[in-house]
Symmetry: C2
Subunit: 367 residues, 2 copies
């Protein structure tokens, strides 16, 4: 994703738990990350004619030739913010660093080609740890069909961090932007929501029950897979009006899509896929599984909109890619994102969840 | 520069002085950064046919169309390693972040087009500081004729860091690699050597005399300029066999060029440009100005080789770009880099300085 805050899925609790020695006062009262991005975007000014899309989508899009475009994305992972080496095996971290970037390429309907890597590490680093990280990274590149072609290596006295740039390609006419959603579109997500957030919480609390579902939640945090085949199929189908990947949580990401498209969205809580499967983990963690699904982040599933006429076609495309696709709501006129959910008394309510969805929920539940 | 250690110009003293609270034990005994790069390059394996040059030059080179290529480079700056906010104005830091990347594009004979930026910062960051950084960065982009098109924003609990990817373009036939140096070639550098290292030392020691030379040395560290016009002219001239930018110091960078070209180099100390001008600063800092010129790093001048027949042509090209060019040595058969210098008794000696040049000097001088 382009110039977003890569850590908003983690938030204050995560930082406070993992960085007890750092001053987090004023952390969330600082300038909102979206304002940072808007500030930078305004400074960047008008660009070269070959730039088709700059700041504000999953990737920047550059004209390559008459028919094809390059897609460019960049994501950073920082020790203590995005991962904890106490439970993140280096090989999976290397894989994840590739996947979170490739996910942005997939979200535009493209395929990844080339990777640049900048690593910062203690000079007195653990050589075997780094080698496992590098193996995971290059193995993931091979799996996705892309290649490491360069980068930088620097000392980082306070821990490991890595930034990747991934360059992908797509047919110019098949690129799917965030800005194309239309009133009346069905909102879709691939796979399940909230499992990465559940996995992170289980790992953080050291809960290991050998439960297969729990293992898969943890794996979703440690080693997510980018939906390249699905993104490419959806782009090629020409059926999809808007698309992005889910990295900051459905409530925040859908709000970005709505803002870019100039419309609003209404989600239906009972249609959110995967919530039921989160129940036991949520009970153990003392949280609400719906919170994970709406605001958890790091799903790396695809979020897209299409005319309701194409429901069966889309379900079949998903099936061919081995992924369940779920219609979770509708694009509406206006702005913002709301969620329709049942109250315990059986009546329903519609609550605003755009951007702040996760916090709204916390407030509403009195937590 | 592609997958190099961006901090080797600074070394243990720099880290120890700036990071008194961090454990630097074993810092320089850890695996050599070049070994890291070679390890990663071996894992990366064979690549796509569109990749013309991967790890090991200033930029990766990708085929764009029959006539043109894209050049890609990535460099990271980390607080406390590459810069000190106590004396580095944010606007100049933003400019420098662009310049050190654009310098890699210039070193292949290309022109910069697009920039991706990933910034990591304290959430409780100083908003006006960041805005000045962003202004400097976007102003520098404008000066170099390139545009910020995307990136990432993350929390970095231990301080500010930024990684840039710059995409440039060049005529495929005019790209100059590190690997083309030939025995008998004259070795050239643009501008002066060692002034950035002198400036850093003056800043670090808080020496501010209002001396115009000292101010220019400090400016060279705080706000270096990439030699885009010169690099582009040299590439277009077809006269240059090998080229790279000087970021890690002449002794180290020339050793990289020699290794890539499969030859050796012999430098002549009295021909190194700018050493005399460093004398007063060196006296105040208790160091040898030649050490700064050979091993200081961050010059961001161009280092290149060409047939000795083209001396006047090259001097004229430099003049047109407003830069003095100096022949500093000769490419020889064999391997390694040596420096011919006069002893105090008037006799001359030839010492090996490849990679470890700076340390060799320190040892020889008994420091």
């Amino acid at each position: 994703m382009t110039l977003r805050c890569g850590d908003s899925e983690l938030g204050r609790d995560f930082l406070a738990a993992r960085l007890p020695n750092y001053d987090l006062e004023g952390v969330l009262s600082a300038v909102n990350e979206r304002q940072i991005i808007e500030y930078i975007a305004a400074l960047a000014g008008p660009a070269d004619a070959r730039l088709i899309k700059g700041i504000g989508d999953d990737c920047a899009v550059i004209q390559k030739d008459g028919r094809q475009v390059w897609l460019l994305t960049m994501d950073t992972l920082i020790e203590g913010v995005h991962f904890n080496t106490a439970y993140h095996p280096p090989e999976k971290l290397g894989r994840k660093a590739v996947s979170v970037n490739v996910s942005d390429i997939a979200a535009m309907g493209g395929r990844p080609l080339f990777v640049l890597l900048s690593v910062g590490m203690l000079k007195a680093f653990d050589e075997s740890w780094f080698q496992a990280f590098a193996r995971g990274l290059t193995d993931a590149c091979r799996d996705y069909g892309c290649f490491l072609i360069g980068g930088d290596t620097v000392a980082s006295p306070q821990g490991f961090n890595c930034t990747l740039t991934v360059i992908g390609e797509a047919e110019a006419e098949r690129v799917v932007y965030r800005s194309g959603a239309r009133v009346g579109d069905t909102i879709w997500v691939s796979g399940s929501l909230g499992s990465a957030a559940a996995g992170l919480e289980l790992l953080h609390r050291g809960i290991e029950l050998g439960n297969a579902a729990f293992v898969s939640f943890q794996e979703q945090h440690l080693n997510p897979r980018a939906r390249v085949e699905l993104g490419s199929s959806l782009g090629a189908s020409g059926l999809v009006h808007a698309m992005m990947d889910l990295s900051d949580g459905l409530a925040t990401d859908l709000a970005h899509l709505c803002k870019q498209s100039g419309i609003g969205a209404r989600l239906v809580a009972r249609n959110l896929p995967g919530v039921a499967a989160l129940a036991e983990a949520a009970r153990l963690c003392g949280t609400d599984p719906e919170q994970w699904a709406i605001g958890g982040g790091e799903d790396y599933e695809l979020l897209f909109t299409a005319s309701p006429d194409h429901q069966f076609c889309l379900l079949e495309l998903g099936r061919q890619c081995g992924l369940a696709l779920s219609p979770v709501g509708t694009i509406v006129a206006g702005e913002g994102v709301t969620l329709i959910r049942q109250r315990p008394d059986g009546t329903s309510e519609e609550v605003a969840i755009a951007y702040q969805g996760f916090d709204h929920f916390r407030n509403r539940e009195g937590r």
